[in-house]
């Protein structure tokens, strides 16, 4: 645009002021990008959880568990493709400061349902052959230096072994890659059959049934069918999509949305003052120059636009830098959230906020510039 030199001139009249204001905006939008990005990221991760997986838990509370006898009945429900289950084991390695969230399961079916888990087929076969076998993920293997073939003793504070001890011995028969699902996904699996056989109590109970369905559109229908099977029994079920369950658990963590929005709101509000003040100061100092422009024939409207565009240039450029910085931080969060990048919606929100900031802080000064009376301004009044 040919007016660029004029806008540039306006911005850089006081270098230090413009730089500090820009830096403040960069910082504010960096924070916005990080917070809102993480917030939306939670939502996205939850929403991206496949709706072709259902979780069946005890209706009264998931810790009450369901009979393993339900397995064949659930598997037979129309629309069910595959079935696995988890029984929470809660072990620790050497002492309780190293908790290992372990699950007893049907590994072959589990890895069929969670195709994002990468494992060699021979390990799954080894699990079927080895009663005391366990599959562990790469993070755990690295953390405790466990290798294939190792014998691992795990302590547990809940499940007493039939032989009366608190220690269970396991053999590592396979290592898998669960990085695509993030650090929160369970990484230690033992055979349900071993657990059932060796536990002194709690046998025949599982905490979650994991159901893979043929058609995601049928999720609600299949859920209702499963729950109907066991309605009015002593062990009623609640079936929901994995996404719904995750959302419920996330919600119980706290109202993260509110916290993020409150902080972002506070940041942007305080920023508004800074930017508005900068623009106002700038226009006030340039009263003479703006009057000259009007003398030369720049209309009131043009002068208003010049100031607004200045404000826009300042805010949008700095905001873009801030959000770009935030975006570069996201790959660093991969170990925690799995495949995760700055959601596009955050960039859109950021752009919108930058525009809003530019207009609100630039409007009063721009109007003032527009209303400048040439004669008075030139005379210094």
């Amino acid at each position: 645009m040919k007016y660029l030199p004029l806008i540039w001139a306006g911005l850089w009249r006081k270098k230090a002021r413009t730089i500090f204001t820009m830096l403040s905006i960069v910082v504010a939008f960096l924070l916005f990008g990080l917070l809102q990005g993480i917030n939306q990221g939670f939502n996205t991760v939850v929403q991206n959880l496949d709706v072709d997986r259902l979780y069946v838990t005890a209706k009264t509370n998931l810790t009450d568990g369901l009979p393993i006898a339900y397995a064949s009945r659930i598997k037979a429900v129309p629309g069910v493709r595959q079935l696995s289950y988890w029984t929470y084991f809660a072990g620790y390695y050497q002492d309780s400061r190293n908790p290992i969230p372990a699950f007893a399961t049907d590994p072959t079916a589990l890895f069929d349902i969670y195709k994002d888990l990468k494992i060699k087929p021979e390990y799954l076969q080894a699990m079927q052959r080895t009663r005391t076998g366990v599959l562990i993920n790469e993070q755990l293997a690295a953390k405790y230096h466990w290798k294939l073939g190792d014998r691992i003793p795990l302590g547990t504070s809940i499940w007493t072994n039939k032989d009366g001890s608190n220690t269970w011995n396991f053999d590592v028969v396979g290592i898998f890659d669960s990085s695509a699902l993030g650090a929160g996904f369970p990484g230690f699996y033992l055979n349900q059959s071993y657990f059932d056989e060796a536990a002194a109590f709690g046998r025949g109970t599982v905490h979650y049934y994991i159901v893979a369905i043929d058609d995601p559109a049928q999720a609600t229908a299949v859920s209702q069918r499963i729950d109907a099977l066991f309605a009015n029994s002593t062990n009623e079920t609640r079936t929901q999509t994995e996404s719904a369950l995750a959302q419920m658990q996330l919600k119980q963590l706290g109202d993260i949305n509110f916290i993020v929005n409150a902080i972002v709101g506070a940041v942007l509000f305080t920023l508004l003052f800074l930017t508005a003040n900068t623009m106002m100061q700038s226009v006030r100092e340039r009263t003479g120059e703006l009057a000259v422009l009007k003398t030369l024939g720049f209309s009131d409207g043009k002068v208003l636009s010049l100031v607004l565009i200045e404000s826009l240039a300042l805010c949008v450029f700095a905001a873009a830098v801030g959000i770009a910085l935030a975006a570069t931080a996201f790959p660093l969060l991969k170990p925690i959230f799995g495949k995760f990048q700055m959601p596009g919606i955050v960039v859109a929100m950021g752009a919108g906020l930058a525009l809003l900031l530019a207009f609100v802080s630039g409007f009063a000064p721009a109007w003032r510039a527009r209303q400048l009376n040439i004669v008075d301004a030139l005379a210094g009044r």
Partner: protein, 231 residues
């Protein structure tokens, strides 16, 4: 031949707070094309106000202001701005260059309001700077130029769009004697060789000597007129 500028019974008053101040009490004057007119008078006589009215920076309370056949007292603010861009070149006492722009960028500003292409704008800027003798200082910023040089850049800016009328408000007010002479010579040359019509407000009698006609204002009315030979 009708005059380039005609003022008919022009009055102007301001309201300052609760007081009404009358600055011009019925001024009649005519300026021919190609004239170099000096407007003089004591402080408060209304000379700057008259200049502002001729340049379309302000509008009269009563009476008519006609420039190049247009009744500019009838134009709305937006139309007036347009008109100024096309017809007037203004030179101020304190130069009023934009401090962050170079000399040539400053001179280019009036051309931004036209439809000229970038290369065409550049060409005209070069010509204007050459005319005022500052082509070699094109890339300098105002704070790198002396007072006299800044005023010459301002003059270049005033003529770059080839306006009908050059309007000057105390052009030598902030300059020393030598620089003042240079500027006045330049203005005279523009008037003689380029045929530019110039209206100048000044209280410096030495500057007024360069003009072809002097008009004196006193208390908002024309008081004295002096016609000079073109020396």
């Amino acid at each position: 031949m009708s005059a380039l500028v005609t003022l008919r019974n022009v009055t102007k008053s301001y309201t300052r707070g609760k007081q009404k101040v009358e600055v011009l009490h019925g001024v009649d004057l005519q300026i021919e094309s190609g004239e170099f007119l000096a407007l003089m008078g004591p402080s408060g006589s209304g000379k700057t106000t008259t200049l502002n009215l001729i340049a379309g920076l302000d509008q009269p309370t009563g009476g008519e202001v006609e420039v190049s056949g247009s009744r500019i007292d009838r134009l709305a603010r937006g139309a007036l701005a347009d008109w100024r861009a096309r017809n007037i070149g203004f030179i101020f006492q304190f130069y009023n260059l934009l401090p962050v722009l170079t000399a040539e960028a400053n001179v280019e500003v009036p051309l931004l309001l036209t439809d000229l292409s970038r290369s065409e704008r550049r060409r005209r800027v070069q010509i204007a700077l050459q005319l005022v003798g500052l082509a070699d200082r094109a890339k300098h910023k105002p704070n790198e130029l002396s007072g006299g040089q800044q005023q010459r850049v301002a003059i270049a800016r005033a003529i770059v769009a080839d306006p009908t009328l050059l309007v000057c408000d105390e052009p030598t007010g902030d300059l020393d004697r030598q620089n003042a002479e240079e500027i006045m010579n330049l203005l005279k040359a523009l008037n003689r060789t380029q045929g530019k019509t110039i209206v100048m407000v000044t209280h410096d009698p030495r500057a007024a000597e360069y003009a072809s006609r002097e008009l004196h204002l006193d208390k908002g009315k024309l008081a004295k007129e002096e016609v000079r030979h073109v020396a």
